[in-house]
Symmetry: C2
Subunit: 302 residues, 2 copies
């Protein structure tokens, strides 16, 4: 199958990235500056915050300040995670134009992560999707553990397809398929996409792969061959899943951009600007970027 | 194209890995223990030493001691790099059963790395190959810079194919194609293999990819799709090329094994034993393994 000619990057660093930062909360001004720099680099889809109870995720307690405070760039979508109706109402009050809900392809992971079965989680999303739809706000659906679960091991592709289909039929415009613990390999990723595209149009599927085992780019190449044209990534590889062993999580935006450029696939994103932003934000956090490309190419400006 | 059902791993850590270690020379006993552990883990092709002038590569000054001192495991091939006839004679005296010569696909790299043109380097290999052939010793040929050169940038696939063909016709039984600076991406890797397989049978081509930009596994997956069935890798990602910017070099054997296992490709190698060996040798060198899989899975034994 031919590779796509262009790919939409969905940037995760401000939410999925910083959410999992240990230690003190990242200052609100730093988050806002990160979002603004990423948008300026050409990233047109940025998950900017999470409207979740600060009791559970204190790092995201300033979601309203971030979403109302950022300097918005025309053509850029700034979305937010909204795990429940209360979160959605807060997001709507903050003027958020796109939100996201988070489900799982693994029953055990669903129980341990969001304290309910997959079916219960889908039932809870129904009124949220209805309310978002009434407000003219698009909803993105995440499915976690699509290539493996820390409790159940391998996950059958048809299970992923079922959950993706349910979210799509409930009104999610795009389904992001997450290899939450990064255990997948290319053929498994291909099979998962092949099963899921039977239920959801391929252009509505996003690959959200973690690099815990170093497989993310190989898996992305494999699903690009299947026609996937939306990729989630996090600048400097920020964040990840606290359930995964090993240090690394999200695939780095820089590495994805380098791969795509090499494949002749257009993204509209300035790689060097993302590299520089990655050096800046990891400098703020007191470490090096978690991107091989960033380390190999180095920064150009502050 | 179908993926191969089995892949031959060619282990690089004792030579290509330790050769590039900064600081004090690794003790001969440590090198020997590394080679013996790798063989015990199931790696049946190990580049164990380099018979090069100790003036140029002091780290390899104990090649004879290593090659004559190791406990040889039946069925395992312990090879050595021999850049010239003198090196070959020393290797033959040490009982080496397979040797390797090192050429480049880039004129400028050839000049800077081995002080002669590509044509001159090939001419120098001719008497070496003749002598090795007389002694019943197989010769492997390396081609560096197959996906890019630090001086010339992109390298045309036909240039790689020409050098590979010359080495093959001179009597090299296998040609290892090196992305020395790790800049390649999957389609470029595919095109390079497509051009080269016109000149050399695919089963005689090996992929020797560096992970400097994090692309090695994606590139390996792409060339496995082309039918490549020999892969060079280095346990714990040891070593690399001092000409490449960035910290990392050789793709880690652990990461390649994890990829291949996920693809259902047989290698006969015990991944956990390689992980444990990687932790042991990097412990001796005072650092962590340069393998994502090793970091994610952790060690089991010392």
């Amino acid at each position: 199958m031919a590779l796509p000619t262009s790919v939409k990057l969905f940037e995760m660093a401000p939410r999925d990235g910083l959410q999992n930062e240990p230690g003190d909360m990242v200052p609100t001004a730093t988050k806002m500056a990160l979002i603004e720099r990423l948008a300026k680099a050409g990233l047109a889809h940025i998950e900017a915050a999470s409207f979740v109870s600060p009791k559970w995720v204190p790092q995201m307690g300033d979601a309203t300040e971030v979403m109302t405070g950022i300097d918005r760039r025309p053509g850029v979508v700034y979305s937010a995670l909204t795990p429940n109706l209360k979160g959605l109402e807060n997001a709507l009050s903050a003027g958020v134009e796109e939100v996201a809900v988070f489900g799982a392809a693994s029953e055990t992971f669903s129980q341990k992560n969001i304290n309910c079965s997959i079916a219960e989680s889908l039932a809870r999303f129904a009124p949220l999707l209805e309310r978002a739809n009434d407000a003219g706000v698009r909803v993105r659906g995440y499915v976690s553990c699509v290539l493996g679960c820390p409790y159940e091991g391998e996950i059958a592709p048809h299970k992923v397809a079922e959950v993706a289909k349910a979210l799509y039929e409930m009104g999610c415009y795009e389904i992001s398929l997450g290899d939450t613990i990064g255990v997948g390999t290319p053929l498994a990723a291909k099979r998962m996409i092949e099963a899921t595209r039977q239920q959801v149009p391929i252009e509505c599927l996003a690959a959200h792969f973690h690099d815990t085992y170093g497989m993310a780019l190989a898996n992305l190449y494999a699903v690009l061959e299947e026609g996937v044209s939306v990729i989630d990534a996090s600048t400097a590889g920020l964040g990840g899943c606290p359930y995964a062993k090993g240090a690394s999580g999200n695939v780095a935006t820089e590495d994805v951009l380098y791969l795509l450029a090499g494949l002749g696939i257009d993204t509209g994103v300035d790689l060097q600007a993302v590299i520089d932003t990655g050096y800046w934000i990891t400098g703020e956090l007191g470490r090096q970027p978690g991107s091989r490309v960033a380390l190999a190419k180095g920064r150009v400006s502050a």
